[in-house]
Amino acid sequence: MIASLFDLTLCLLILAAAGAAVFGRAAFMAVVFFIVYGILIAIAWLRLGAIDVALAEAAIGAGLTGVLLLAALARITRRIDAPEPSTGPDRTTLATALASLVIASAIAFAFLTLPEPQGLQERVAENLADAGAENPVTAVLLNFRGWDTLLESIVLLAALLGIWTLARDEAWGGRAGPRHVTRPGGVLAQFGRVLPPIGLLVGIYLVWAGSKQPGGAFQGGTVLAAVWIVTIMAGLMQAPRVADRALRAALVIGPVIFLALAVAGVVAGAFLVFPPVHAGWLILAVEAVLTLSIAVTLAMLVFGPPEEEEKP
């Protein structure tokens, strides 16, 4: 009874947060409600027992996306005066609302008529012993469907390249993003000293624990990225230069090693094989380098393209 009451309240809150994010007049409020929405969705995943998804949603859906949106908002308001919010819904809004309604109805209709879901849980469990990870989610992500994850890690790099194309030509090669200066002894500066050690520990633990319990490269990488972002926003370090070889090597090392493993499978007449005997440590190794690359890529996404001209 209490559980279903909780779920009902959660659903209503999710709808309310989504509504506030979509219909909010001020962009800042929309972003804040989007973050709230992400956290509520993460709780919903927890209620559904999908702890890995909940972690990813909280870290990436609410946390990282929220930071990206806030950073974008800061840039927009810094450069141009915000346009007057229009009164009343315009035609685009109405068309979008109509399209969303049609799609939502179609999903609801399809969902209600779905047969008993036929997941692959049993097959995953049967093959878990050979997969090299006790956590079925990690086994699926790294081994059974490793090719998807490998491509996803490269998708992140494509996004970063896309952001880098937005740099001004004169600024190319310079430090990513604006320079952050904070008041010494202020909240952010203090925070920037306390948080990183804890964050480092949590991030590395998430990757390490991922083979047995919920966690993994994407979740751990996001936490590590957050540590770096906080350190730089607190003005304790400077963002790296985009032309820095070490930075670029860190960006690609994860996908490169994963790709090399994929090609190594050719010896056995296959592609992307984790031999069962070695799968355990191979998965951990791939996750470790992927975490590094994911963390660096996500942080660079937040820092943005280089902005200041290079001083010789």
Partner: protein, 500 residues
């Protein structure tokens, strides 16, 4: 796993990973883009030649990634269709990368656009190969995501205000398409417990969930293929990008989503469609064909003419849906409409990429692509204008080009199926293409204005790149028997029997 499994695995590994390795290397080294691209072409082509020999000799095959069979793992599928698209893509990418060395070469100092172009172009190639070989709906989604992000970045690579606006608009359409596709894939997984196309073929029926899923997948992919009425993003995006990027965006990128549509309808869900849906898809294609052609007639910039032509040409790819099957099985060749659509997709890839590369060389020579400025350009760029004319022959569907073979196959299928309307549309498409391509060609051969500034010289070697592509599109018609037989290897049954 015997030793005989090694060559196929090696071929697929090279095709899938060489462009991605190349992209990552280019991302690190900065100024070595052209050299890395050359190495990538060599490695990928080696893999493709091996694959072609294997498929021609032993037929189509599948490879379970990691040794995990479906539905647990992802299956790679190598058949005539996949290899045809992969080989064409390699040819087109090779020509584009060869010509891009000059505009995107780096001097002593690393430059922004010269740095980002090479990893983006190679990632685009890697995403295409991943899509063409995948037999899994979610893996196809990941490939599409990579392709989309890279394509958006390439549209905006010059960093100009209007190209950034075009890139953003393209991203909105493309992401909406991705989400719809993903929704469909999720519904199919929930209902049938698999994402594998071959397994889905035995399980997808006419349940409401299946129909909603098919609708979402089709709408999503149609938006990505710029099918009318989702076409608005295409002309500004394709014409605003630098020519080598335009060639990839127009020649190759929309073919990936069309390819997935072909795989989905003919292999995963051949029995789900009703006549009305097939007619709707074909009808939207016909509309796109007329609309794109008419707007192409009205443009005053060469790149916009070529971009609107893409809207039109992509339109009649969709004639395959109403035309497949019927009485065409009684023809001396089976699967006429299906083969015709594949021929059209491949020859359009070569011809359209060639045309955009030609436009790029013309811009290099005269500094812009406004039509009046092209007067008499044939004197300065004879090879380029020749290539443009050959590519135009393919786009008009005149013999002996690959475009002619495509139209011939589709038209005979149209009569055989008792639906002469589509044949009429194809004839009209050819006439309209002739009309909108006549204007730039006539100007190119006209006498130049006396006060016109002298065009800058463009090297013969670089003019050869679009010529090779245009010649390949013609050869696809002259030597059509070989490619025709090849793409039939592993052909789905529905290509002969039709949908419904």
């Amino acid at each position: 796993m015997t030793s005989s499994a090694l060559p196929p695995a090696l071929a697929l590994a090279l095709i899938l990973t060489a462009p991605l390795f190349g992209a990552l290397a280019a991302m690190v080294t900065g100024r070595r883009g052209p050299a890395i691209a050359l190495a990538t072409v060599i490695a990928t082509v080696a893999g493709i030649l091996t694959l072609l020999v294997i498929i021609a000799g032993d037929g189509a095959f599948t490879l379970a990634i990691g040794g995990w069979e479906a539905p647990l793992g992802i299956q790679l599928r190598a058949d005539g269709l996949a290899a045809g698209f992969i080989a064409t893509t390699a040819l087109v990418m090779g020509a584009i990368l060869a010509i891009a060395g000059k505009p995107f070469g780096s001097g002593a100092q690393e430059r922004r656009s010269a740095y980002t172009f090479w990893p983006l172009a190679l990632l685009l190639w890697g995403a295409l190969n991943a899509i063409f070989l995948s037999g899994d709906l979610f893996n196809l989604y990941v490939g599409l995501e990579l392709l989309t992000l890279v394509a958006v970045a390439l549209v905006g690579i010059e960093g100009k205000r209007e190209t950034l606006a075009a890139a953003l608009r393209y991203m909105m359409f493309a992401l909406m398409g991705s989400l719809l596709y993903l929704l469909g894939a999720a519904l199919l997984y929930a209902a049938h417990g698999t994402l594998d196309i071959a397994l889905l073929a035995t399980r997808v029926g006419n349940a409401p969930g299946d129909i909603v899923a098919a609708a979402a997948i089709t709408a999503g992919l149609a938006a990505k293929t710029a099918l009318f009425p989702f076409h608005a993003w295409l002309p500004p995006a394709h014409s605003g990008a630098p020519a080598p990027a335009s060639a990839m965006l127009s020649g190759l990128v929309p073919k990936a989503s069309f390819y997935i549509l072909l795989r989905f309808w003919f292999e995963a869900a051949p029995d789900i469609a009703g006549t009305s849906v097939l007619m709707l898809l074909g009808g939207l294609g016909a509309f796109a064909m007329i609309y794109g052609s008419l707007l192409a007639l009205h443009q005053d910039r060469l790149k916009l003419i070529i971009a609107y032509s893409t809207v039109a040409q992509l339109g009649y790819l969709f004639f395959v849906f109403p035309l497949a099957g019927g009485e065409s099985a009684a023809q001396p060749w089976a699967a006429g409409a299906w083969s015709g659509a594949v021929f059209h997709a491949l020859s359009h890839a070569m011809a359209k990429a060639s045309m955009f590369l030609c436009a790029g060389l013309i811009i290099e020579a005269i500094g812009h692509d406004r039509l009046p400025g092209m007067k008499g350009i044939v004197r300065a760029l004879p090879m380029t204008v020749f290539a443009f004319a050959l590519a135009a022959i393919t786009l008009m569907g005149l013999p002996p080009s690959g475009g002619f073979t495509a139209k011939y196959l589709m038209m005979t299928a149209s009569f055989a199926a008792g639906q002469p309307f589509w044949a009429l549309m194809l004839i009209l498409a050819g006439l309209l293409a002739a009309a909108y391509l006549y204007r730039p060609l006539a100007l190119a051969f006209a006498l130049p204005d006396e006060d016109a500034p002298a065009p800058k010289a463009v090297s013969r070697a670089r003019q050869a790149a679009p010529l090779v592509l245009a010649l390949a599109a013609i050869l696809l018609g002259i030597l059509s028997a070989g490619p025709f037989a090849f793409i039939q290897i592993g052909r789905p049954g529905a290509a002969v029997e039709g949908l419904e």
